[in-house]
């Protein structure tokens, strides 16, 4: 009762300031094997909201988190719940690429904005874009960082690579991107192995890897990332490892051991990014949650910041879904990860960092820890990399069959 009285008093005192409301429905896995990632996602978004004291440009934010369990059908159900029962202005999140592909049609059907803050499914902002007028992506397409990584690998002397990637849309697209750029520059992917998403025992896969390759490309997600390098070492495989972004993300990095030293990966963010903005972000995040932010945290923090930027321009008034999408894609932001702007297909253009796992002291912390040191920056990388958009969109979306494994035997 007292709280209500206080609230009423507060409302009376600040009526002009709190008159607007912004309802955000957030989808992240809170149970199951991806629960920890879901926590990182929520923490990132929540941290920004807390910094703004729960209101964005005068709009009071109601932040509703729903558990999508890392399963596409559950994601759909929860998206329906958020949009229809809670009447949220926008949906944010969704972890797996497959969940992104599943929720996007819901956003079209219910005319609700869907901000893809993590789900990296390529085609949502490529060939299928026209079906989804209410989506905008603030993170990346799966293949986006892996085009430059393929080029980097080729330029750094790797000729042949065997690939081990999680068998679902994200894995197909990550490896597809890497393979295309790598082979266009002269490299050869000589074998592709597809363990199912969530594999913990790589025993059946490791012995089949072709020993003649110069390096191994790995794409792991969630707990898989922890197991693969360990089991590789136990099996006595000592080849250089190049990984997809999520294989060495800060979500798993602190739990890893020295077996991952020297492994290289690519992403649009690294906690070891040596900029004042990121140093400050890492410090505050670590103070609040007791761990180093992962890309999952940064991406959602930045998403909240982008929503804030739009709301600033409308002075806290909800502009409607069409207007919101178009205003969002006009943003140019100096984010924690670096400068971000959008292409005409509602996907970010941003720096891609090639990163190497090193053990060192960073950002003034006292202990030696594992960090993803940035060894090369590709600035302003879009989802089509250096390829022409028209040419790129003519090829099919990366899948288990595309690009074909020309050099496999």
């Amino acid at each position: 009762m007292k709280r209500i009285a206080l609230f009423v008093a507060g409302a009376l005192a600040f009526t002009p300031a709190v008159s607007q409301e912004l309802k955000i429905g957030f989808l992240a896995p809170m149970t199951g094997i991806f629960a920890q990632i879901g926590k990182d996602m929520e923490n990132g978004f929540q941290m920004y909201l807390d910094e703004q004291k729960g209101s964005l440009a005068g709009a009071k934010v109601t932040f509703i988190v729903e558990d999508e369990e890392g399963k596409p059908p559950v994601g759909v159900r929860k998206a329906e719940k958020l949009a229809r029962q809670d009447n949220v202005h926008m949906l944010v999140g969704g972890l797996l690429a497959s969940t992104g592909y599943a929720i996007a049609p819901v956003s079209t059907r219910l005319k609700t904005v869907y901000v893809l803050s993590i789900a990296a499914a390529d085609d949502l902002t490529q060939r299928d874009l026209n079906q989804y007028p209410y989506i905008v992506r603030t993170s990346w397409t799966s293949s986006q960082p892996h085009h430059p990584l393929g080029k980097w690998a080729c330029e750094n002397g790797y000729k042949t690579v065997v690939a081990v990637a999680a068998d679902y849309a994200f894995g197909h697209e990550v490896l597809g991107g890497f393979q295309k750029a790598f082979e266009d520059c002269g490299g050869k992917v000589i074998q592709k192995v597809w363990p199912p998403l969530g594999t913990k025992d790589f025993g059946p896969y490791i012995p089949t890897l072709n020993r003649n390759a110069d390096a191994i490309f790995s794409l792991m997600v969630g707990p898989m990332a922890l197991q693969f390098p360990k089991q590789l070492l136990e099996a006595g495989v000592k080849k250089p490892i190049i990984g997809g972004g999520t294989s060495y993300d800060e979500f798993v990095l602190p739990a890893m051991g020295d077996e991952v030293l020297g492994h290289v990966s690519a992403l649009q963010y690294s906690a070891a990014l040596d900029t004042p903005k990121n140093r400050e972000f890492v410090r505050r995040y670590r103070e609040k949650y007791g761990k180093v932010p992962s890309y999952y945290s940064e991406s959602n923090y930045t998403t909240a910041q982008m929503i804030h930027e739009v709301m600033k321009r409308t002075k806290g008034k909800w502009p409607g879904p069409e207007k919101f999408i178009s205003m969002m894609t006009e943003l140019k932001l100096d984010a924690v990860r670096g400068p971000v702007r959008f292409d005409d297909m509602r996907n970010p253009i941003q720096n891609i960092y090639i990163k190497k796992v090193e053990k060192k002291k960073m950002h003034g912390y006292e202990k030696d820890e594992l960090w993803n040191t940035v060894i090369k920056t590709y600035p302003d990388v879009g989802q089509f990399f250096t390829y022409s958009k028209a040419e790129f969109l003519k090829q099919p979306v990366y899948s288990r069959e595309f690009p074909p494994c020309k050099y496999c035997n």
Partner: protein, 309 residues
């Protein structure tokens, strides 16, 4: 007999109140009914025949994938041919069960559990790996529910009534089956198979037919499941889905048919609805399971029967 009237009464009240419920609650009610059909099919095996199946999601998966593939690739099943898809869904569920039954019915007890689990995972493997047909891990997004004449299933309330109709039809069909002499001999097999065999019953055939019928209703649940969710994904076919169906039956009370619906109601609302309200819903669900097993081995339905099965 009394339990049928109670069931009809409760469903009538729910049907009357449904228009006043929120959109999410209506979806959940429809979900309860679809899973209720699936749970009844498990109950036919577990409760009446004594066969604990851990692979029932396979038939739901077959029905659901068939519906989704016909609808998205060929545009079939979105008008009056919806009824054809319903029939095909049941047929495909039955056919799959007829095939799997050849392997599974030889076993009983925990071996039956294991072999149905393995067969169920085969279907999951197909769904996950046969990319060109099933869309792999992405599954298949449906483009909308059927419209029959003026009746658009895209309206959730209408779809709920449709599902309710299917549930009632399935319930009466299965009720007739278990009250028939055939059903009585299934119970006889459950109680003591050897005696039934000595009496001259072909117990293998009885169990096989029950298995195929259960597959058919699993397939029916699959057709409705695909339209309910608007997406079919390998996770629908995965082991937890089969375990859930078994748990619903045990929770509600096996050998009662109605128990499946009661169990589905408890599980769906505790999981889907409570999960939207509090983060500790899993403890509630776990506590309910444990308490039921400790104090109500006959399931929730035992409460209404004075404890006698």
């Amino acid at each position: 007999m009394k339990k049928i009237f109670v069931l009809l009464g409760v469903l009538a009240v729910v049907a009357l109140l449904a228009p006043f419920a929120g959109p999410f609650v209506i979806l959940l009610l429809a979900q309860v009914l679809v899973l209720g059909i699936m749970a009844m099919s498990v109950d036919l095996l577990l409760g009446y025949t004594g066969l604990p199946s851990l692979g029932q999601a396979a038939y739901l998966g077959v029905g659901a994938y068939l519906t989704a593939i016909l609808a998205t690739k060929y545009g079939i099943g979105l008008g009056w041919d919806f009824w054809m898809v319903v029939a095909l869904g049941m047929l495909s569920g039955a056919a799959t069960a007829a095939f799997f039954g050849l392997f599974a019915i030889r076993a009983s007890g925990v071996y039956f559990l294991m072999i149905t689990l393995a067969l169920g995972m085969c279907v999951w493997g197909l769904a996950y790996r046969w990319n060109s047909l099933t869309g792999g891990d992405n599954g298949i997004n449906m483009r909308g529910r059927p419209t029959l004449g003026d009746v658009a299933f895209s309206n959730d309330l209408i779809f709920f009534y449709v599902v309710l109709g299917f549930f009632l039809a399935s319930f009466f069909a299965l009720h007739l089956l278990v009250s028939s002499p055939f059903g009585k001999s299934l119970v006889g097999i459950r109680e003591r198979e050897l005696r039934m065999r000595i009496l001259g019953y072909n117990t293998w055939l009885h169990k096989y037919i029950a298995f195929v019928v259960a597959g058919a209703f699993g397939g029916l649940a699959g057709v409705l499941w695909a339209h309910l969710n608007g997406i079919v994904s390998p996770s629908d076919v995965l082991l937890p889905a089969s375990v859930d169906a078994l748990l619903m039956v045990v929770l509600g009370g096996s050998g009662t048919l109605v128990g499946g619906l009661v169990g589905a109601t408890v599980v769906v609302f505790l999981r889907e609805y409570l999960a939207t309200l509090v983060p500790w819903w899993q403890y509630v669900l776990g506590t309910v399971y444990v308490l039921t097993i400790l104090y109500l081995p006959g399931g929730i339905m035992a409460l209404f029967k004075g404890g006698k099965a």
